[in-house]
Symmetry: D2
Subunit: 358 residues, 4 copies
């Protein structure tokens, strides 16, 4: 198994939810780039639990310790490693699922694959908690990208069927900053209010809702990526599906293209400010796997949180008979809220990899 991705920038995530620590090793961060630890901590805070009524009340002290690859807040060129200690486990909340797997969690598949050896407390290596080290790496990547004039932003584009506006044709870093400073990042405040009500309603019924995230990247040069299997879509999708709960990844028009005709879907070329641009951006900034200089646009579909309060059907693996379970503990009613910075982090890491490989 390999919890790694990347080519010139290799990201390796380790840890189990209730083990000693979780962390990340990155090979290939460019030497000499500064890291602003406070900016990084603010980024991590967006992913951390306990920020609002809509996210779990768990408190995690997600403060990474840097082990190597950085000195005096400057990347040294050798492998970067950071660890986050696991301090606030309440394993009692998670006992008892090794025999009775939680529906739509990885308990059953881990049991089949690792024959009982896995440390699945709190979801083990499959836990959403593993996105914290991913955000450490991605938060650094975002800082490096910004220095190159490349900015990444994301918002909740659909929660439980309630749609936010789409990104405009040319999103700006100001717009991204506005999203970043909100703890419920949407473009349309009314839609956002409706979404929050939907989440609260689900939460009050012990239920959860799914959501979609739209992510944009501006400032990318044309020419990144390669045809076929090393296309930008392949690289991004491969990494994004590594985020727990992702059920779909699409680019530009995404699955909407299915209902479109070519005459409407094709992006006519035009000249704007002396540069080649397209009038529309159904291509999502990628043509033939290669960036075309337009904003890169992608969508991620995230399932509703699998941990819900109601009694659920499951089986006892030891007795091979049907039974029921009830999942206690504190859970996000909509995992996508905290996944917004994770999508930004993963997207940033993939694009920095491409920029390094030049």
């Amino acid at each position: 198994m390999s919890s790694e991705f990347g080519k010139n920038l290799r990201v390796s995530v380790f840890g189990e939810s209730h083990g000693t620590g979780i962390g990340v090793v990155v090979n290939g961060f460019p030497a000499g780039e500064a890291v602003d630890p406070e900016q990084l901590q603010r980024f991590l805070a967006r992913r951390a639990p306990g920020q609002s009524r809509l996210t779990t009340a768990r408190k995690e002290a997600d403060i990474p310790e840097f082990l190597s690859g950085i000195r005096d807040n400057v990347l040294t060129g050798s492998p970067f490693a950071a660890v986050i200690r696991n301090t606030n486990q309440r394993s009692g909340d998670y006992k008892g699922f090794e025999d009775t797997p939680r529906p739509s969690h990885a308990d059953y598949t881990a049991a089949v694959k690792w024959q009982g050896a896995a440390d699945m407390r709190g979801g083990g290596h499959f836990s959403g908690r593993l996105t914290a080290p991913l955000c450490v790496a991605g938060g650094i990547a975002l800082q490096i990208l910004a220095r190159k004039g490349v900015y990444v932003g994301a918002h909740l584009s659909n929660v439980g069927g309630i749609r936010d506006d789409k990104f405009p044709l040319y999103p700006t870093s100001e717009l991204f900053n506005k999203l970043t400073s909100s703890n419920f990042p949407v473009l349309n405040a009314q839609a956002g209010a409706a979404m929050q009500t939907a989440i609260q309603n689900a939460a009050s019924e012990g239920d959860s809702v799914g959501a979609a995230i739209e992510c944009a990247v501006i400032g990318l040069p044309a020419g990144l990526g390669d045809p076929m299997f090393d296309g930008v879509e392949s690289l991004l999708a491969s990494a994004l599906f590594g985020i727990p709960g992702v059920k779909g990844v699409s680019f530009g028009s995404g699955f909407d293209c299915v209902s479109m005709r070519g005459s409407a879907h094709n992006d006519p070329f035009m000249i704007k400010d002396g540069r080649v641009r397209t009038e529309t951006n159904n291509s999502g900034g990628i043509q033939g796997g290669i960036t075309n200089g337009m904003p890169l646009i992608l969508q991620v579909g995230m399932k509703p949180t699998a941990s819900i309060a109601s009694m659920q059907k499951t089986v006892s693996l030891s007795r091979m008979e049907e039974t029921e379970i009830e999942i206690h503990g504190r859970h996000d009613p909509c995992i996508a809220i905290r996944a917004v910075p994770v999508v930004e982090a993963v997207t940033a890491l993939v694009l920095l990899d491409l920029l390094i490989g030049g």
Copy 2:
């Protein structure tokens, strides 16, 4: 650049639409497995153009010559190589796009990336024609998988907004055979008729339509794949986005999960015929990146054919001014029809890779 994918089964596709030949090299095909060349040819015929009114009238003699890795129709264990000669090029149809890139094709990005060196006649290495060698490799993978009791099937699940039925909870190889023998593979004949009308209407207007493909795999053991970035979704999505025209890839409930609640989305475990199963399959047969023994279900969204008959806006790269082009030649009004076997092929290659890796 790297037109390759896979780990234990490495697939490398080469060729340009109007060059000498296109082909594929596969490292890792298991030694001793037989290849039925007639069955392979029938599979290739499903992708080949010129089969019906709905596909392009071009005739391509897609008969692969095996160069290595096979003797007397048995795989030898050393690298498999096959080449298909390009014989029926009508380059005249494609002249003139190096300076005036076709909208939503790779002409512009190739020009930026390769600075005029690319052989972009007929789309060059970006051409849908490159899916022919992919189908040679995938067609062999399908034969090997079938011998292991693993079957792959696919249908047009949505054409231009007209929806086919979804696969039943437990698709069968008989159902797949029925789809395979049709040159317009759908589950619901009425929907299929409406789709064909929609395609013909678009074609008669010199236009094209987008479509979605649903693909299922049955017979997979539980336990394939790994958490995070080597999850089954990551591996499949990475390869599937290598198919020209794919805008989205999703699994199980896909983007529909966005509008669902956890109580409806979770797949309750049950015992069926002495095996652990789930009552629903929103997980698409994958939990935590690992197969759970249920049918694997995925969706691919394909954009409408970019080559349409109407006059389109573009730019002259040399003069940096706006202009128009008209694309002649023969083109599929709906590329997804011929992409159905390509999705099957790529899916089969990724899964055989996982099965080999154990």
Copy 3:
């Protein structure tokens, strides 16, 4: 950059000599395998400094902390991570080499590559100290291999021109245990005494000596490895050259084959105890990149320690003029002594990777 190796078993080493910590992440350790921490600590002690007059007097508390991938001394299947804190740095010993690179160290190349950003105190990421985490991973691999009947052993086969005996045609695990329990592992005690004298003589003159290590692996099945670039020699050599100070890697007859005739070099096949064996083993247990069931034999040539006491010529990079330096601090007069377990560790990791990939 990528301080990683392996395919199914991915080993990633991080850290700088005088940074916060050094460590290793391993993806792919088989779930359910036990780790004996005391046996591991004994293995690490063989690499640790300060064991005898012939190794540096530095004391390093090389006690790894396990962060993930292991619970109750059993591997869980998810990424294994371990960290060793750097506690005993005496950076003063290493000051001043950023401008005046030490001959035959990596100071100059790191300065060119990372433009001054590198943390090169104590050799930084290039330090022999980085072999400690490698031995943590390798020590675990050795325990897993032993349970599969595969044993790895090594000895100092040549120190400063004084040759030890070669391994017999069929080394045994008993012989390996004898070598392991010695802190100067040789087969011929007389040769060993002469080697130690040579090392002490060099040390007393502020100088150092080179050495060769012969390593053997028994119990391997025939059929591991692949032709050409994934041959066992390629995989082992690639990893072994990652050990600081290695100048050459060879297999079986090694460079002696240059002076031999085919009639003497060919290994005749024979039947022994019902198994196919060879009468001699110039092939080193590998033919066509694939193991043949005979003991695997390899040699590693290690240069004399670059840190010597005498005044040496160098240049000032800032002033671009010639100057001299004197290296203080405590250094091994023969790095190969402590490298013996490192060679075993790396060899074990590569072979476990192959066995897992099967």
Copy 4:
């Protein structure tokens, strides 16, 4: 299995000695680079058999057909593919070894690994013939490198114990040209004459001799490569051990370092013509895995040809009893002669990969 190497330049070799064809696919050749086919053919001729009394009399029409990735002798940027047809097989010469494996060939290991499915006629995929496509790729890499001011040269440094001179501290491209134009490339003509006599003597007795090849690369910038497992030595060794018959690979002082003291082995830095240089080059141009701007120096040890005329002991695998075989056919008495350009080719490909990756 994977007959591939490289990261940014991916080389994939396919084919079996007596199959339909052998060939190579290269991903990553830079677009726009010209290929001189006559110069390439001259390079291939150096590897081809039948040039002198010292090489086999077999005639192979090693004229590659370019399938893709090149148009009008300019690389297009998409995957390069070339095939060489197998036309002159005399399979009769090779019959009968599937049951009675030839000593020190891959017959036995292939039989174990592929259970009889392998096409081992003429050595199958393990044949030295597979170095022809490798030379097609490498010959192109050499042309590209030369345009960047990087030159690769090699000579027979030791044949059967007779030593040639070593390369001077600063070899020149003129020296390389002189070696290239000889069909017995040595620096010292007298040594060369003695070597040829030794080879003829062995040949007349139906025997063969081993040899070493020294290879140098000039014009490389400092800073290529990475610490540890992606060091230049690791990358080169991994690829060079893919050449059939290689038993050892070393750099700079190589295994001679074993008998040296640090005071003699260390390379003092100096300023020469305004650049940082070293007075000696025991480091072989590489320190800490990274090039230091001095000539890169490596050695390859090649075993004596395994195919010799005398009766040899082997076993019958079907009857599991000892027997004898006699190998007919035409064989090089010293495979290293024709391996000289192969070593150059592989070295060039690895270094071009590093230069592309930046």
